[in-house]
Symmetry: C2
Subunit: 328 residues, 2 copies
């Protein structure tokens, strides 16, 4: 078994090569000279946020991407991160190396570097692996796009497609059946979300509010609406779906229930944002420039909460208010 200090020196320290002020992970602290920065923090736990059997490189990359998604929603440009790892007792060095390879791959993709962290382990082999990251990035000139700036009458938009990661998880757990092609694409959405950095930066000038969709579309629309003191009305049929998710919805006996499920799964890592109707053209231009699909899915009105609306304008009953980590 390799020691903690060898692991830091040999496996993690190379990940800090391009991090000015990280001191090669050889000191107690990292020095971050310039500012301002926005910071976000996430913890993920085996059996809760990822499957215990997921390969460690994919876990590492999902951790990076989930955090970058928070920065993306705020229009920020990722810079670096701090990472704490808690391994099961007796973890093999090659598993830690696999994890580090995943980090390296996405560090290069997103041009970020490791600035510091902590490596420790449980006393038991069954202790669940946990990873905790603090990411930071440069906010856009106007400051980070906040959650609380939506105005009455604003349009509500979402990037990409919704529900794929949740269906991917069901496919991996064999709770739902899919074609081989659909299963592969849905599982990829679960394992490797795409942080929407380009569109997040492109809308920062005119979006009135934004949030990344990680708890589920309805839940996160509720967070945005509550922070803004408004009510979010989501037109259920306009929720963007991949062909795999569309096929799944079509197979369900109750279409509204299926749409409500898709809007509740979580793990989408898309950006939900609001903008005044006068900005529809700017939204289209930003979407094109960022090469990212953006769908207009509803409006913000006086009131409170977030609701799915059917074609007749009636509220669709939704079972869940989104993923709640303390209630699971």
């Amino acid at each position: 078994m390799t020691s903690e200090f060898e692991i830091i020196r040999e496996v993690f320290s190379p990940l800090s090569d391009s991090a000015d002020g990280a001191f090669g992970l050889t000191d107690d602290v990292a020095l971050i000279e310039k500012g301002p920065y926005v910071f976000t923090k996430d913890a993920i736990v085996a059996g809760v946020h990822f499957l215990a059997k997921d390969p460690y490189d994919l876990i590492a990359r999902k951790l990076i991407r989930a955090n970058l998604s928070d920065l993306a929603a705020k229009g920020a440009k990722p810079a670096g991160y701090f990472l704490a790892c808690v391994w099961p007792a007796g973890i093999a060095r090659d598993q830690i190396e696999l994890f580090a390879r995943g980090l390296k791959e996405d560090q290069e993709r997103y041009r970020i570097a490791l600035y510091g962290g902590d490596t420790t382990a449980h006393r038991t082999k069954t202790g669940p692996a946990m990873f905790c990251a603090t990411f930071f990035g440069a906010p856009p000139r106007q400051g980070p796009t906040r959650r609380n700036g939506a105005q009455i009458g604003d349009d509500l938009y979402v990037t990409g497609t919704i529900g794929d990661a949740g269906l991917g998880l069901k496919a991996l757990l064999r709770e739902e059946k899919f074609t081989t092609v659909d299963k592969a694409s849905l599982a990829t959405r679960y394992h490797l979300p795409e942080p929407r950095l380009s569109i997040g930066a492109a809308i920062a000038g005119f979006a009135t509010a934004a949030i990344d969709v990680s708890d589920g579309l309805i839940a996160d629309a509720g967070h945005l609406a509550r922070a803004s003191g408004l009510r979010a009305n989501i037109d259920a049929v306009s929720i963007p779906r991949s062909s795999a998710a569309g096929a799944w919805v079509a197979r369900q006996s109750n279409r509204w229930k299926a749409l409500s499920a898709i809007a509740s799964f979580g793990d989408d890592y898309e950006i939900l944002f609001s903008a005044p109707p006068s900005m529809r053209r700017s939204v289209a231009v930003a979407a094109k420039a960022a090469k990212t699909d953006v769908s207009r899915i509803g409006t913000l009105t006086r009131g409170e909460g977030a609701f799915l609306i059917d074609e007749q304008g009636r509220e669709i009953e939704t079972k869940t208010s989104g993923f709640d980590h303390l209630k699971r």
Copy 2:
């Protein structure tokens, strides 16, 4: 069971009241405007870094103090922190509130604020509680005191007393017997370390290198020496001991073994630093100004590693190279 979002709003958000840019924990990110800052990150896990039966307010305060100790060694002034909590499934709200009360108490003592974080839980009641913090503070004007600046011939100093926390843990686990008074004082050193912020700032101008002693005196002296490309020679009898630790050493049949044990326990959260002999007067002045005991315990020479030396100048055999989280 209270929801994740209620807990953040009602229990954690008040802890961010004085944190400019934390947005009351209602957004995806916190904005940190000014710089430079030094950052440090720590993860602590039930059964490894604290006892599962420890009260949550003490766990919270130890988490804060262990991180502030890193900042103290670098001469930095604490500013704020990010916190991720992973609770056992079904954690009672009053336990989370107890944890938050501990945070509040030490936030006020050290004038820091909560800037953001994450709250989640295991799927099982036996999932070990885990907390992960990223602390930041303003470095001294000269920049953070590094680990790697020690020079040949420098003196080696340590603050406070060594070995108390380790003996406190043994007392709590009933592995060693103590008088009631000694047990109480040693247990307090285990539960509530004193980050040496004043002395850390006072020596920043002339200390050539510094590190906080968390892995054990010998191990951390080794880290400082290795980073500086030198060898640390620690005069075993000069290691400062509290009266309780002194009494314990006196009771052991092999004095050198006892001193070596004390220098290997870890969890001391004292500052180990180096300074040239010409600075002895400055060290004394800084110690007095900071109202902190400082002991000269050795020297740095050409070579590698860290060694305990007896009164005849011979190396004392030491069993451990300090606490290794991956090897336990």
